[in-house]
Subunit: 333 residues, 2 copies
């Protein structure tokens, strides 16, 4: 056994520096310039309107973090950076910083000690009525959702020509419902969310060419009549904001809105029963502690119970590699 | 080769959450309570005046980060946490957050993009005249310095009864000079720093029982006459704040102040020539980019050149495991 080392303490205390380094690199569009063939600190300094010295220190740090590879004096993108950080890549994720590093979220973490004391935020947190953060979310996070949305659409199965009726609860950017509409040309999707958020979903549906099969149901998921019946109810990144009794209300509402043979399809951060693996999935619980009154990252056993107690016959777990999220498909009967 | 994954992007963007989680745990004294035998979320909630739910989510996150080990519903300290995060441990590091997470430092990183553009801070940064951050530094960082100070004293060598004359430049908490005074009972140490900082060093020298062999030389290392001659000049965590020409001025001043046979002993973050390994050492350059006008983490080749050009005959490199720092011993002749 090696002697104890203060390295982990220092790395962790200074972790906020990683956040800022990645943010600075994205703001300077450094990854895009590396992809465009500017590989030395001098070339990058000119391309990013920065000092070569500043770029060299930042690029070394990005190399340490795994976004760049350094070969002599030249920097190259790692495969992850190439896929997600070059602004010209269709999977560019840089815009997500608008949401992921919104001042409100950061401030919530500055108050984390209080959240641990209370077990959550003192108010409703981010799920308060018509919170404008969800418009920022819908705009900023859409590019991250194409891959999970396609993976989730894969779970529906059956003939692509079936006339699916789909309800997309708390639709946000709308991409989950839109991915189903793209996969199933006869599908009709109803997107439920606050009106200001739905405007973003409607834009995205139009851009994807499925606007004529994408209806809007404005309001709170709790107060609005969901209509129906539906063949599929999508519950994506919604449950984690609430406590178990509230999750059961949501599941019961899904059960009532589903036609015979219907399914609820849930996308979530679902850790193993130990709640500490997989790390990136399990760690999400802390975001819910910091930003909601009673939200959590529930295990599959908990979701199975939530759906079973609401009348669903059975639930299946699906990992969705390479994403850090998982899915549950719950069958009405 | 695995397909590209957005996991590193998410982990890095959210890294600031690690900082806050560790800070919250230290503020709540959670590690001390685990060490005292409170091992479940319920017991810890009571001991830390916190919600069991809040503690459970925080402790799971600390487990993911490697500070706790989870065994069923019980949490235990990892060896690192036991050594450095239990408030009753002599090596407790929690107090260092006062410096490491000082608002000024955090704010510097919020402005990192500008620092990359300019190649440093727009002003002198943290090395401005009499900057009060160095008093906070001297108070908060002392507990982290006992181990490197002892390792540095090991490098001096020779008979412990020799009457060493030691100059401790930019002494801060004074622990490096004090460790030499403890090791060499005939040593006399002169500590040079701003007057408000020297007050902390003098306290520490008195507490260590070496106050009668610990003199104070108040002022700027640049403007003050260093006196001498000395057998040893200690240059600990000082060079990294400055550019190479300034480092050469400092080395030249050390050379002049040394007696024949004397040595300069430098403690620094000294990366390999690639400037990206070892990670925790090399990553320190970013702190200098964010908080100083022209500071850096210099390689051993650069230090060798700095000392050689100031008349030193030769310099030796020393790793100081398990710390993330390294040392250079430079011989006057």
């Amino acid at each position: 056994m090696p002697p104890p080392s203060p390295a982990l303490f220092f790395d962790t205390v200074n972790s906020y520096q990683r956040t800022e380094a990645l943010r600075a690199a994205i703001e300077l569009d450094l990854f895009t310039q590396v992809a465009a063939g500017k590989t030395t600190a001098e070339q990058l300094g000119e391309a990013c309107q920065s000092s070569p010295r500043g770029v060299r220190i930042l690029a070394d740090y990005l190399t340490i973090m795994g976004f760049l590879r350094k070969d002599g004096r030249e920097y190259h993108l790692t495969p992850d950076a190439e896929a997600f950080l070059d602004r010209r890549s269709p999977a560019f994720l840089g815009g997500a910083l608008e949401f992921l590093l919104a001042d409100d979220l950061r401030q919530s973490f500055r108050r984390l000690t209080g959240a641990v004391r209370r077990g959550g935020t003192p108010d409703e947190g981010t799920v308060s009525h018509d919170n404008p953060i969800w418009v920022a979310f819908a705009r900023a996070m859409a590019p991250l959702m194409h891959m999970p949305a396609r993976l989730l659409a894969d779970l529906i199965g059956g003939d692509v020509q079936q006339p699916l009726r789909v309800l997309d609860v708390a639709a946000g950017h709308g991409l989950f419902g839109i991915a189903v509409a793209e996969r199933y040309p006869q599908a009709r999707v109803t997107a439920l969310d606050w009106p200001n958020v739905l405007a973003v979903a409607a834009e995205n549906a139009k851009r994807a060419g499925v606007g004529d099969r994408h209806a809007l149901l404005p309001g709170s998921a709790f107060d609005t009549d969901w209509g129906g019946p539906y063949d599929v109810v999508l519950l994506t990144n919604f449950f984690h904001h609430f406590d178990v009794p509230t999750c059961k209300q949501i599941a019961a509402k899904a059960h009532s809105a589903l036609a015979p043979g219907g399914r609820a399809v849930t996308l979530e951060f679902i850790p193993e029963p130990d709640r500490v693996t997989p790390p990136s999935t399990a760690g999400f619980a802390l975001v819910m502690l910091a930003t909601t009154a009673r939200g959590d990252a529930y295990t599959f056993a908990e979701y199975r119970d939530i759906f079973a107690s609401s009348g669903f016959r059975r639930s299946e777990f699906h990992a969705l590699p390479p994403t850090t999220q998982q899915a549950v498909v719950s069958y009405k009967d």
